[in-house]
Symmetry: C2
Subunit: 240 residues, 2 copies
Amino acid sequence: MRYELYYWPSNQGRGEFVRLALEEAAADYVDVGRLPEADGGGVPAILKLMNSPEIRTPPFAPPFLKAGNLIIGQTANILMYIGAHHGLAPADEAGRLWTHQLQLSVTDFVKEIHDTHHPVGAAFYYEDQKAEAKRYTENFLKLRTTKFLNYFESVLARNGGQHLVGGALTYADLSLFQLVAGLRYAFPRAMARLERDLPRAVALHDAVAKRPRIAAYLASSRRMPFDEKGVFRRYPDLDE
Amino acid sequence: MRYELYYWPSNQGRGEFVRLALEEAAADYVDVGRLPEADGGGVPAILKLMNSPEIRTPPFAPPFLKAGNLIIGQTANILMYIGAHHGLAPADEAGRLWTHQLQLSVTDFVKEIHDTHHPVGAAFYYEDQKAEAKRYTENFLKLRTTKFLNYFESVLARNGGQHLVGGALTYADLSLFQLVAGLRYAFPRAMARLERDLPRAVALHDAVAKRPRIAAYLASSRRMPFDEKGVFRRYPDLDE
């Protein structure tokens, strides 16, 4: 089965967590939003599916994954599906729930990261909420990044250091890779300081980057660069 | 098996979504945070479990549910577990994923509702972020409540109007009840306006409130009142 991933083509965004899992699974997928509109892709294809009145299970927002007759929305939910079907999560109930629980904390963290540049609302430009963003991000870097990253570091330590869950790679490990990579891009000064206390998370990031399928993906044009349109944005004013 | 729910005793908060499911399921549970400290309950019991270095699967934050040997964190993850074990979600994969997907949109909405009074960060008092809260909430009431509530209304309409998923009650229905009840408490003026376009969501709220186990729960002392310590807070300045 060829999966269809639907996500805005302009930036990595939340879709990137799904792409990393599809790539590691060597799954057959098409990134519909990045296809030319002439080939039935692009933003119109996303909106057409989202807004179709015939769909009984409409997604609230991208990303969503078409898997045969299923349309699966919400990043963590998509990852739970991919994890179950491609060996990227334990098969037993306890392991499945624990992997998903970690992913939901990733979801919470991603929302807080997004809000560093949009604390008032996504409807306003960053330039129109710079004062609020500065105040939000000071608190975020002081308290929240530390709390989330130390949590994941602690989970790694309790599990022997190599993986968040059990003895093998899961989608949660891939997401932690993306968090470290993205935070390094957005907040290089803060991360240089924070990483001193995160040896296991940094080692996991490096190990994921070297996995053959991930390395090939990162070197390909399928991996978009970080920039100031996605979740992780580098605004030097905020990284102090 | 007697479940143990761990959540802060001071307010309904995110724990309330779990309580509603446990009550509808007539599950045997103890609300540990609300037990007297002398009986091994209260905040110390929550912190003790969260901070124990012996736990291999530590929760990031309350609520979490102890189910035998499992410690399950993240509200939506707990509900997925209760749904599977107590008939509050379909058993097939498509139905399970769809119910959970809806719940994850509830999670996103709850975070945005929380941020109406804490847009800069939970570390600051509301009184220290009133200006930001006003600006955030204006945009939230204009764009975000409409988007989320119309989405759930549309899902109800596509499914025949009675339930969000299939032909029976799920944990997602219980959560939509709580959203309507909470938003009515926090933003009575805005909700009076919005509800005109939400006949199915309002009818579902009323039907859930009349279910015998939910009605008994709502009338009991186990149901804490809404107040200005939880997710849904009534600050008249914001409801304009």
